[in-house]
Symmetry: C2
């Protein structure tokens, strides 16, 4: 690879079943040149998110990623050249830059980031992850002290944040995850009140034991059986924040939705609401994006929120990092360090 | 039957499949005597509602109706004797009195009604039906002029009200119903912009034709396939008011819920919310119960709302009236006149 070449991963073909390393192809390409209003950005970190897999299933809140496309993904990068007066070389920016070592982006789709250390916090607690937990839980669930909060994919990036925010709000917090070891960790390290290994035994019965007073708020990262079981155990006027459906991302489309929709919504007067985090950036009953970051910073500084990052070194490891995330390998926010 | 006897219908056994006349048993019983704080009420009208069937499936927002119970149902009645100082003989009251000619009720569960004519309006537009449409549509859907509103069971009591309120709010209104004749009636008599016979052809395709700009608000009385089809055609930030699930009341419990839950809720940032009307009586963003009745009265007086009542004579016809309602026989609010 010459000095004006870079590496990138292309989605060779859209997976029909589980995603594997072989669905990606490593390529070299020329480092691109920015045009008017554009920036050349060097990738420092790549964010791995369950949503990356959902993008392969079709258009969502963004265009689908199709076979032959450079794989999409959130990055934290440094501006190397700028043809946009709002940015200068050396600036840190976040954007959907994709899985490549350099990228040219319009300044309009880049968000300038402050210089804080560790800068990975810009992709975890102060990035999409932390803000998703903040708005998706506080705005949609409107939790009250003493209520029972269930979080699925609780050991993941968003789940660990939701659980900690729920504890700050005085709730009883129960998480679902995929191993006994992660259950112990949720309880002993992360302060959850109870945890359920959804792969082990009877999810309905285990949930009933872990939530003896029913469920007031459910932060749903998974959909599927966990959502169905939660619907049957929600209390009157319960709130369900629909953040994702990871149970249905990595395989064939689900054949049916959860039983209890809409019957249980009527009988128990439940609210289910989907969102993406940017819906709330300009304002919500719990503030704007700036308010949210300030609040999260106060909680981090006060030691009330532990920032969990699972950082993997090396650009070449991005595909494995995503495959592993979908298999439930990580605790907290998974990132690949490309160059920092 | 002697003069101190009355007729009542008992649910002989909980139906396993479709409800039939034979599931009920006509009995005579002594006219009961009120105790302290109680009223003897003579039934004037009995309300027929799809929810009557749902009550046989198990506990909902009220106890289940079980085999051997006098069948439950809303009534409008006249106080004959009162041991509650808040009520006097001659007062009109509404309550869950059940299918019987006389009933003893605690004054606490009776709502005194004004003397208006026709008094059936107390059970349709100013009763649970009208209020359900008012709050369930305006509060949960928050419709805006120019939006497309879909209503299922559109020719029914609540559906006809929702459609008319949506037209008053400047929306494009589409209804689903069970016959071509009712489709024509919705369009030509009730002012709907389009109507879909869900028993005839392809619900997804017909809905797409009737809602070329997608659906912003869906008022769901049915659940099932119509809900699933609507979910796929909702616009970004759409709102679904979950009022009932009549598709699943009269038969075996459904095997699965609608596909697209929770995936489409996330991608399209939808809200689904169940309710029962009394949730809003004390206040909502569209007022209290009194505000709602005043607004409905203004609309009726101005000729903007047609009050549709389907009144069947004779206590002995109550079971057939419910069976027929579940089969989609009625247009507007179905009542049985017992004695007026």
């Amino acid at each position: 690879m010459s000095s004006n070449e870079m590496r990138q991963f292309v989605l060779a073909e859209v997976p029909k079943g589980k995603l594997s390393r072989d669905n990606f192809r490593l390529e070299t390409a020329p480092v691109p040149t920015p045009g008017d209003g554009e920036l050349l950005v060097k990738t420092r970190y790549i964010s791995l998110d369950a949503a990356n897999r959902a993008w392969m299933q079709g258009a969502t809140y963004r265009d689908a990623v199709e076979g032959g496309d450079v794989m999409a993904g959130g990055i934290l990068g440094e501006v190397i050249e700028s043809n946009d007066p709002n940015f200068a070389p050396g600036d840190l920016v976040s954007a959907d830059g994709g899985w490549r070592e350099y990228v040219v982006l319009s300044g309009k789709v880049c968000q300038k980031q402050p210089n804080i250390e560790p800068k990975t916090h810009l992709m975890s607690v102060y990035g999409v992850t932390g803000l998703t937990a903040y708005f998706g839980f506080l705005e949609i669930c409107q939790p009250k002290a003493g209520e029972t909060v269930l979080v699925s994919a609780a050991a993941g990036a968003v789940g660990t944040m939701v659980g900690q925010i729920a504890k700050i709000k005085g709730c009883r917090v129960v998480g679902t995850t995929s191993t006994d070891e992660k259950c112990d960790w949720l309880i002993n390290t992360m302060g959850f009140d109870a945890a359920i290994n959804y792969r082990n035994g009877n999810i309905y019965k285990d949930m009933k034991e872990a939530c003896p007073d029913g469920i007031d708020c459910y932060f749903d990262n998974t959909g599927g059986e966990i959502l169905e079981s939660a619907l049957f155990q929600m209390n009157m006027h319960g709130r369900i924040s629909c953040c994702g459906a990871v149970s249905s991302y990595d395989g064939a489309p689900p054949q049916g939705g959860p039983r209890g929709v809409p019957g249980l919504l009527v009988v128990k007067r439940l609210t289910m609401r989907g969102f993406i985090v940017s819906d709330f950036f300009e304002g919500s009953s719990v503030g704007t994006r700036t308010d949210a970051i300030n609040q999260l910073k106060d909680w981090v500084d006060a030691g009330k929120i532990k920032v969990l990052e699972d950082i993997i070194d090396g650009f070449e490891n991005v595909p494995d990092a995503l495959v592993g995330l979908l298999a439930g390998e990580n605790k907290g926010k998974r990132l690949v360090r490309v160059d920092d």
